[in-house]
């Protein structure tokens, strides 16, 4: 499997990639013996690109996301985010990098139930010690289509609305890279579309980079490129494929 379409002309190629994985290996040791989750993955995520990572279960896609976001240390290899190497940094340095450079959206339980929508969105700014400006919070809430819901608590929102709050929370710090782990896994197809459109807009309008792990070809079709993982290795990629082609490529990989 190789690239079948030329890159989009309007994607700006800059000198350093948004995210660089260089020979990432991750070995988990357990009583049953060593398990290789990743076996030498090298890949560049270009600035302003939307990449979907797909693969059968156990292919290492979640591990890839966790290593890329500095949530887990690779056994071997190097991760560079915006030209900064993640390896060898302590928890506090990684945390600061995370809250300034990365945004996270995952399947469910994204929000703190004790806080209102407004407070959830403003939380990353508060954690950096900055006082959130009201207009900033309202701007991102407008952006995700949640105007008027600022005073609600997560329990009073639908699943799709909760995911949009999570996106708003990721947007507020203006991160360079968005990490999304099955962001539509718990949603129906029409709310999924809304959430994916918002991620799409992050790359198209503000030039942010999105890395999304998914098993859903429809979701993956929103990406510029689909990266296929199998058995801890990059098995191929597909640029600007539609859902049917992505599904076909997936079943080929699983078959």
């Amino acid at each position: 499997m190789t690239s079948t379409a030329p890159p989009r002309p309007f994607v700006v190629q800059s000198e350093s990639p948004a995210l660089l994985l260089d020979g990432i290996t991750k070995t988990y040791r357990s009583k049953a013996g060593a398990v290789d989750a990743l076996r030498g993955v090298t890949y560049q995520f270009t600035r302003g690109s939307f990449t979907a990572v797909m693969g059968p279960s156990g292919s290492g896609k979640s591990t890839l996301l966790q290593c890329a976001a500095g949530l887990d240390q690779p056994t071997k290899g190097m991760v560079m985010l915006g030209g900064v190497e993640l390896g060898g940094r302590d928890e506090v340095a990684l945390t600061k990098l995370r809250r300034e450079q990365m945004g996270f959206v995952f399947q469910a339980y994204n929000l703190l139930g004790s806080l209102t929508v407004y407070d959830n969105v403003a939380l990353p700014l508060r954690l950096t010690g900055r006082r959130p400006r009201r207009e900033d919070v309202y701007r991102v809430l407008d952006q995700v289509g949640l105007e008027g819901k600022a005073k609600r608590r997560p329990a009073e929102l639908s699943g799709g609305q909760q995911q949009r709050v999570a996106i708003a929370r990721a947007l507020i710090t203006g991160p360079a890279v968005f990490f999304a782990d099955e962001p539509t896994g718990a949603l129906d197809s029409s709310t999924s579309r809304q959430v994916l459109t918002l991620l799409r807009q992050a790359t198209d309008r503000t030039g942010q980079t999105v890395v999304m792990v998914t098993h859903d070809p429809v979701a993956a079709a929103f990406a510029d490129r689909v990266l296929f993982l199998s058995d801890g290795l990059v098995a191929g990629s597909l640029d600007r494929g539609d859902a049917a082609r992505i599904a076909a490529a997936m079943s080929e990989l699983e078959g």
Binding site: R99, L112, D181
Partner: protein, 658 residues
């Protein structure tokens, strides 16, 4: 982060309700102890009933007013400070375990915070902030309740053995402020380890489905556990015959250290004892016992925090009850061994006629009536009221065992004194030393120690004076008890009858010594019982809350697990049985550790106290001890079963798929 703390506490009210109640009760008890102490400090005895003595060796030299014994509130002060120590100890303990629980159940939420950019430090501050929010509310509630209850306590405590005066509430501000700050400090100490553990939660925990607790326990925890264990072993080794009277406080406070040690090491110990106790369960039940065993053994940390409050109260209460009972046994045996006379006459105050009537009775070989005399003993910078007695050596050496440990009683003439071994041990007096005393007629004197006698409270006073000296400074005093030795060949029973006939109308009465000894022992136990209720009552109430609290929280958190088991085909009765066995197992593990502590302390204290005595009866208060154990078990099982039944009734198996 304080803003976040406030919000989380509001949201997780049920999770923090336990900590709130525990701390409010703790501050209530501390506050009550503090306001009552303030009342005793503010109590100003009538000026006539006190004597001013010089303390020339104090720095700077000063004069103090010593209140005389019948208006003394120091007994109440001692008990109140003990109540405060025990309440404070149990409060730290309970707060630490409820906070650990609250944090463990919010692993995922903490992971999420870390993921979106909270540093470990910020998480720690958030948890401490939560503790502060809960602690502030609880401390103020407790203080208000304490203020409301103070008049009641003072009314109850007035005119009792411990405070034979009328106590009035003093200004509450300082004592309540002390109680509130103590409550806050205690809460923060208790929350510290929970906060540290929360800070260790990894951001990736937000992405994980299962909220599994790490099963390994930290090296630091094991280190501290071993340290406390070593410390308590050193203290246990001190509970031996040579240590003297200090063995009683030692045997009361060493269990606290042991409880801390065992609680720290519990995650290592609990699975083993759990497996042992589960053997019969697994043999007798089909599936519920097996499930209960794996639940207890597989989550040692959880089981350990459920067991902690049961362990604490059973060990502390058990050791205290056993120690006081053995102390009473030893005291009764001392009285029996010291008293040689077969007849005792107890006489009322100012019974001038009693002396003539006793001496006039035929068939008496020796009548030993000591003259009681209160005096103030000053030593360096302290002044104590002591009850001394002037004894007639000729009679007393025949009616009681008075062979001195050192010195010579024949020198007891003029300005001299013989003291008990206990007093000599406490104050470091030796034969030949001089003791400064002030009599109630306000004359001061220096008495030379001529002998040290075996300690025998109830029979021989701690200071024994020549009779002439006692008579000179207490001319009105008459003996309150007489030890009577019948003449050779005369029957003791007949002599008792004869004495009682002659004594009619004086208020005095004669009884066989055996009967008198029994009454003394009973009075001692009565006094102990009163002290125990005062000391252990609040602690027991507190632990009951704690036991119910932890098990209630433990069960409420398992809604998902219960509902899933229902979906898999478990009947509600099977789940209830599993919870029943599980909580019984935790209770049994905790009680075995508590019993181990109690037995160790009991054996040591008995050896220490009965040294050099023979045939000391061993009274084990089985009803009380079994009652404590039973109550702990009933509370544990009830508090685990009630929420389980509630959850099972309210939820349908289908809820597992939500």
């Amino acid at each position: 982060m304080f803003f976040l703390s406030r919000q989380t506490v509001r949201r997780h009210r049920s999770l923090y309700a336990g900590s709130f109640v525990a701390l409010a009760v703790g501050v209530f008890l501390l506050g009550l102890a503090a306001t009552a102490t303030a009342a005793t400090v503010a109590y100003d005895g009538p000026a006539a009933a006190s004597i001013t003595v010089d303390l020339p060796q104090a720095d700077p030299p000063q004069q103090v007013r010593v209140p005389l014994s019948d208006a003394d509130v120091s007994g109440l002060q001692t008990v109140l400070s003990l109540v405060a120590v025990i309440s404070g100890f149990i409060t730290i303990f309970v707060i630490a375990s409820t906070f650990a629980f609250a944090v463990a159940s919010r692993r995922r939420e903490v992971g999420l915070l870390r993921l979106i950019g909270a540093t470990p430090r910020q998480v720690r501050r958030m948890v401490l902030g939560e503790a502060l929010v809960v602690a502030l509310a609880a401390a103020i509630t407790g203080a208000v309740l304490a203020q409301l209850a103070t008049p009641l306590l003072l009314a109850k405590a007035s005119y009792t053995e411990l405070a034979p005066v009328k106590l009035e509430p003093a200004s509450p501000w300082v004592p309540l402020l002390i109680a509130i700050s103590a409550g806050l400090v205690v809460a923060m100490l208790g929350a510290r380890s929970a906060a540290r553990r929360a800070a260790k939660v990894a951001p990736v925990d937000a992405l994980r489905e299962a909220e599994l607790e790490p099963t390994r326990i930290g090296v630091v925890r094991i280190g501290f556990g071993l340290l406390f264990l070593a410390g308590s072993i050193v203290l246990l080794a001190l509970i031996r015959p040579g240590t003297g009277e200090a063995v009683i406080p030692l045997s009361m406070f060493t269990p606290m250290l042991l409880v801390i040690a065992l609680t720290l090491l519990a995650p290592l110990v609990v699975p083993w004892i759990g497996r042992l106790w589960a053997l019969p369960l697994v043999a007798w039940t089909r599936v519920s016992g097996r499930l209960a065993r794996s639940n207890v053994v597989a989550t040692p940390r959880r089981s350990a925090s459920l067991a902690a409050p049961i362990l604490a109260i059973s060990a502390i209460a058990g050791s205290m009850v056993l120690t006081l009972s053995f102390a009473a046994d030893a005291a009764a045996a001392t009285i029996r061994d010291t008293l040689r006379a077969p007849i005792v006459v107890t006489a009322p105050e100012h019974g001038a006629a009693v002396r003539e009537r006793i001496l006039g009775t035929t068939g008496i070989a020796a009548a030993d009536g000591a003259i009681p005399i209160d005096l103030i003993r000053t030593d360096g910078d302290s002044a104590e009221v002591e009850t001394a007695e002037g004894i007639d050596l000729a009679a007393a050496t025949r009616t009681r065992a008075l062979s001195p440990i050192s010195g010579d009683l024949t020198n007891l003439t003029g300005k001299t004194v013989a003291i008990s071994k206990e007093l000599s041990g406490f104050e470091g007096y030796d034969v030949g030393d001089e003791i400064t005393v002030t009599y109630l007629d306000r004359t001061a004197d220096r008495l030379r120690v001529v002998a040290i006698l075996p300690t025998a409270p109830g029979v021989t006073a701690s200071m024994v004076l020549p009779p002439e000296l006692a008579r000179q400074h207490a001319p009105e005093a008459t003996p309150s008890q007489w030890f009577i030795l019948p003449a050779q060949g005369s029957d003791a029973g007949a002599l008792v009858t004869a004495l009682n006939e002659r004594l009619t109308g004086t208020g005095a009465s004669a009884v066989p010594a055996v009967e008198w000894e029994e009454a003394q022992g009973e009075a001692l136990r009565q006094g102990n019982r009163f002290g125990l209720i005062l000391l252990l009552g609040p602690a027991a109430l507190y632990s009951a809350i704690a036991i119910a609290n932890t098990l209630l929280m433990g069960s409420l958190q398992r809604r998902h697990e219960f509902v899933t088991s229902r979906l898999l085909g478990a009947t509600p009765a099977q789940i209830r049985r599993m919870v029943l066995w599980e909580s019984s197992l935790v209770g049994a593990v905790a009680l075995s550790l508590g019993t181990a502590i109690t037995v160790t302390v009991g054996v040591l204290i008995r050896r220490a106290m009965t040294d050099g005595m023979s045939d000391v009866p061993a009274t084990v208060p089985w009803t009380v001890l079994l009652g404590i154990a039973g109550l702990c078990l009933v509370l544990a099982v009830g508090a685990a079963l009630a929420p389980t039944a509630f959850i099972l009734k309210r939820s349908h198996p289908g809820a597992a798929m939500e």
